[in-house]
């Protein structure tokens, strides 16, 4: 590790600062000014360095000190993350509230985790055993589940001494023969994907409990769905409902540039609601990363990297993780603001030209993998997008469409008629549908595919009949077609629509199948009756 170096501020423009300090590395973390604001190196020049500040720069002055810290922006990973609410730079917001009160002031917090807290550690390996990167050496009891302690990526050796019983994160709990000390936690640079042995192609779905998603547009474990929708189309409610009910081990929820009141609502609900599988509050399987719209923009940009690194960490412990981000557009806008303050050449709609590549490398961090220790873990993503003016031709939606596997388009017309979730069955698609076919057939029913095709067929027919009906009126339709309209309405109202505020918020696939089967069977019966009458 490099020693700390110090320089001075020579210019400030908004949150972009230039310093005469040289010898820094790109993306190195810096401490800026007398208040020790967190910053990151974004550009290196011959005799100066450009920094991006992650906090409110008001009051920052010329000639104030800049310190290079020799490390990049990192995420701290270990027991004690669950049920905590962090900001974009992984500062614990509860600790922050203790320090600065109800309003956030720029302040430096030493660690994201409580290093003094006592945990009970149970080793799984004995002295003398050789371990390598990713191996589980023991576990810590954390709430409802066991938190495995792994050898940090890139480290290995023979165990000289491993502790047992009560420990804190401050002290090493295992010593290797090469002198490396393993702690209960480790840090990882947030912009670099964590290593794994192999990526596996997805085969199982994430059951979200939303009929329209599970049945028509399923999400695979390790896959990515995007939810674009204009304002008021119910993106946030949909994401939060999925966060509550999805059948995953860990949920990482990133509130990126969204509303503060919504976050307080989310926390309260997560504390009240129980996870049906272990009767613990949902909060105990959740980590929140929150950077509301009025918190510093640069930290908003970092927040999704904090979230994805947390997700990858739990994946490496062998869990199934779901990352929900609301919303990626706000992240992209933060990127645009930073890019424009760096006076970079703008691309489409002012976004930097590297928007698409940044987005695709972010989405690629999702996946189902064989971890370094040989377990299976997955990180799935559901990303909401807020296209300006509800126009899907904008760059963020378009870039995500090229990388995401499922596209759940929220329709303003549906939302206006209070049909929720307002997912359009005409325009949405899921590329995981064929991969997951076998799973659904074996696990639930042989006629899963048939039923789905029939449901699709009816909804498509309704769509084309609607146009005719607008001209001739319902009376002008043939009897058979009128039946289609009635059945389609039934499917819309009692199958595709789902009220997030009632018990219907979660529907298991068995029940989903029952509902659609009874509707389509009724349809076939009526159809036959009408045919007989005609002949």
């Amino acid at each position: 590790m490099k020693t700390v170096t110090t320089g001075k501020i020579i210019s400030i423009s908004g949150a972009t600062v230039r310093t005469d300090l040289t010898g820094l590395t790109l993306f190195e973390r810096v401490s800026v000014g007398e208040q020790n604001l967190t910053g990151e190196v974004v550009r290196l020049e011959k005799d100066s360095t450009v920094l991006q500040i992650y906090e409110d720069p008001s009051g920052l002055g010329l000639d104030e000190p800049v310190k290079g810290l020799g490390v990049s922006l990192e995420t701290t990973l270990g027991p004690g993350l669950l049920s905590v609410m962090f900001d974009g730079l992984q500062r614990n917001l509860d600790v922050l509230a203790d320090k600065t009160g109800s309003f956030i002031h720029p302040i430096h917090l030493p660690s994201s985790l409580d290093l003094k807290k006592e945990w009970s550690f149970t080793p799984l390996v004995k002295n003398g055993v050789t371990v390598s990167s990713g191996d589980k050496i023991g576990y810590i009891d954390e709430g409802p589940f066991q938190h495995p302690i792994i050898v940090p990526p890139g480290k290995s050796g023979r165990i000289e001494n491993i502790l047992q019983g009560s420990i804190t994160l401050e002290e090493p709990l295992c010593l290797l023969d090469n002198g490396y000390e393993i702690f209960g936690y480790h840090r990882w640079p947030m912009r670099i994907p964590r290593p794994y042995k192999n990526k596996i192609s997805p085969q199982e779905p994430v059951i979200t409990g939303q009929r329209i998603i599970d049945f028509l547009f399923p999400l695979a474990r390790g896959g990515t769905s995007i939810i674009p929708g204009g304002f008021g189309t119910g993106k946030t409610i949909l994401e939060q409902t999925i966060a509550k009910h999805a059948d995953v081990d860990i949920v990482i929820y990133a509130g990126c540039g969204e509303r503060g009141n919504e976050m307080s609502e989310l926390i309260e609900e997560f504390l009240e609601l129980e996870d049906p599988r272990n009767n613990c509050p949902l909060m105990e399987r959740t980590v929140l990363v929150v950077n509301t719209s009025n918190m510093p923009v640069a930290a908003r940009e970092a927040s999704i990297y904090t979230a994805v690194t947390l997700g990858e960490y739990y994946r490496d412990l062998g869990f199934h993780v779901l990352l929900l981000a609301d919303s990626i557009s706000r992240w992209a806008e933060a990127l645009r603001e930073i890019s424009s303050s760096l006076e970079e050449m703008p691309g489409e709609e002012g976004y930097p030209t590297y928007l698409a590549s940044r987005l695709s490398s972010f989405v690629e961090r999702a996946g189902i993998v064989e971890t370094m220790s040989g377990d299976i873990g997955s990180l799935s993503m559901i990303l909401s997008v807020s296209p300006p003016g509800g126009d899907f031709t904008e760059p963020v939606t378009q870039s995500l469409l090229r990388t995401a596997g499922a596209f759940l388009m929220l329709d303003t017309t549906l939302a206006n008629s209070r049909h929720f979730p307002a997912i359009s069955w005409v325009q949405s698609y899921s590329l995981y549908q064929n991969i997951l076919e076998d799973y659904f057939r074996e696990k639930f029913s042989e006629d899963w595919q048939n039923l789905r095709n029939r449901c699709r067929e009816i909804m498509h027919k309704e769509e084309s009949l609607k146009e005719i009906m607008e001209i001739v009126g319902i009376e002008g339709l043939q009897e058979q077609d009128r039946l289609v309209m009635t059945v389609a309405e039934e499917i819309r109202n009692s199958f595709l629509a789902q009220n997030a505020y009632t018990d219907d918020a979660f529907c298991d696939p068995g029940k989903t199948l029952d509902i659609i089967r009874s509707i389509t069977e009724l349809y076939l019966k009526e159809q036959n009756k009408k045919r007989e009458k005609q002949t």
Binding site: S58, G59, G61, S102, I104, N261, I267
Partner: protein, 451 residues
């Protein structure tokens, strides 16, 4: 800390309200400067950028008559602060926070930075206390709660100010709460509108603070006025436990000012010329509404926005809708039909409604009733389009019924003239219309009002 004030006469460039000064030794971002111009006119300004010895200053006020030689710039070593104290109630200020009611400045008990600090999300209290506005379209279908930010999306020529005045007049908040005050922020208002609002404020007999930037006042002040107002609001709400209603009109002028200043700073323009950071900038205002744990007070915000070209996808209403907790949309068509208030409930929305209604808050059947009214009206409106093509006679009987329902709903439920309706009257009215058309669903359980 600097020991003495620094004075400079090294202005190198003046462009509109932007001033470049050279050879400055020490300067901070956001630092307040005073500029003394010809005839000893004194203006305030704020530092935007510092690059070695060159400083870019944004001035508040008229720069006419300034030249590169006659401007003296004084660096004060403080950032922009707002004086606060209980005596602020009842006062009127201009966009530079100078009193304009003929009285001297009040005695401040403390000073706080105008930009404020973001509320820590874990310290927020969920907004759920119902505010009765006396307007059926809002109370019944788009309920407002304490701590919410709910903008009014208007179009040029629609009676937004009359609606706001009526909300002020009727809002039950002031009866349920012992200490209620309105903070009124006028941004680029014409004298005609200003005098209308002032009269409305004086009529309500509760205390108010007004921060007024008229149409011919400096554009730069339009960016500061809402920040002053919200700093005052935070002080009154969270330190003095008051319920504060912040009324900002017209945010369209604010956004245009933002565009003008951004352009003068030679920043890259975004959609329709508005700067790319407009979302974050608007959020830094709107997100200051809310409630926090450990305080009895609240900040509720009603910004008024005039949608340019009646277009809801225009960047100003669009970005606003992404930040605020819903919107009340006014409709030209309803206005032309003589409906007042002309609120189009279909695109209108209150995101915090679900928590603010039901038993104990309004009435147990509220949610069910609202859903049914909404559903049938949406259907009726859709059929109206069909009617335009096939004619009424070409439609089935149940569809004709829904058409009539939509018309009655508009004329009797939405339209209420200047009368205030209690929430019970609103709900009863809705039920009455549903019953008249036999549209009450079987599962509906009727609740009798205690009134």
């Amino acid at each position: 800390m600097r020991l003495a004030e620094h004075k400079y006469r090294t202005t190198s460039r003046i462009a509109g309200q932007l001033l470049h000064v050279e050879n400055v030794h020490a300067a901070r971002i956001g630092e307040v400067v005073r500029v003394v111009g010809p005839d000893n006119i004194e203006l305030e300004g704020e530092i935007l950028e510092v690059a070695k010895g060159n400083v870019l200053i944004q001035l508040f006020g008229e720069t006419r008559g300034f030249n590169l030689e006659n401007a003296e710039i004084i660096f004060t070593d403080t950032i922009r602060q707002v004086p606060l104290g209980k005596d602020i109630l009842g006062r009127r200020f201009n966009g530079s926070f100078q009193p304009i009611d003929g009285l001297p400045m009040f005695l401040a008990s403390e000073w706080r930075p105008a930009r404020g600090y973001p509320i820590n999300p874990v310290c927020r209290l969920r907004p759920e206390e119902f505010i009765e506005t006396g307007i059926s379209a809002i109370d019944g279908l788009n309920t407002l709660v304490k701590g919410q930010k709910l903008p009014i999306f208007s179009c040029a020529g629609l009676p937004a100010k009359e609606l706001v005045a009526q909300i002020l007049q009727n809002a039950k908040l002031r009866e349920s709460s012992k200490s209620f005050a309105v903070i009124f922020v006028a941004l680029g208002l014409t004298f005609h509108e200003y005098s209308f609002y002032l009269k409305a404020l004086q009529d309500i007999e509760s205390e108010f603070v007004a921060i007024i930037n008229m149409a011919d006042d400096p554009v730069m002040e339009r960016l500061m006025a809402p920040r002053f107002a919200l700093t005052v609001a935070e002080y009154l709400a969270f330190d003095q436990d008051m319920d504060i209603l912040v009324l900002v009109t017209d945010m369209t002028n604010y956004c245009d000012a933002l565009r003008e200043i951004s352009n003068a700073r030679k920043e890259l323009p975004g959609r329709r010329g508005y700067p790319g950071y407009m979302y974050s900038d608007l959020a830094s205002l709107y997100e200051r509404a809310g409630r926090i744990k450990g305080s009895k007070g609240s900040i509720t915000m009603i910004p008024v926005i005039t949608m340019p070209e009646d277009d809801i996808t225009h960047p100003i209403p669009d970005l606003t809708g992404y930040i605020t907790e819903g919107q009340i949309v006014l409709s030209r068509e309803l206005h032309q039909q003589g409906v007042f208030p002309p609120i189009d409930v279909l695109p209108s929305l209150s995101r915090l409604m679900q928590k603010g209604i039901g038993a104990q808050r309004t009435r147990e059947d509220h949610r069910d009733l609202a859903n049914q009214l909404y559903k049938h009206y949406a259907k009726g409106r859709e059929l109206k389009k069909l009617e335009a093509i096939v004619g009424r006679d070409g439609m089935a009987e149940p569809d004709q019924l829904l058409l009539d329902f939509a018309a009655i709903f508009e004329n009797q439920f939405i339209h209420q003239g200047t009368d205030a309706r209690t929430i019970y009257k609103t709900l009863d009215k809705g039920l009455e219309i549903l019953k008249a058309f036999n549209l009450v669903s079987d599962s509906f359980i009727e609740i009798q009002s205690e009134e």
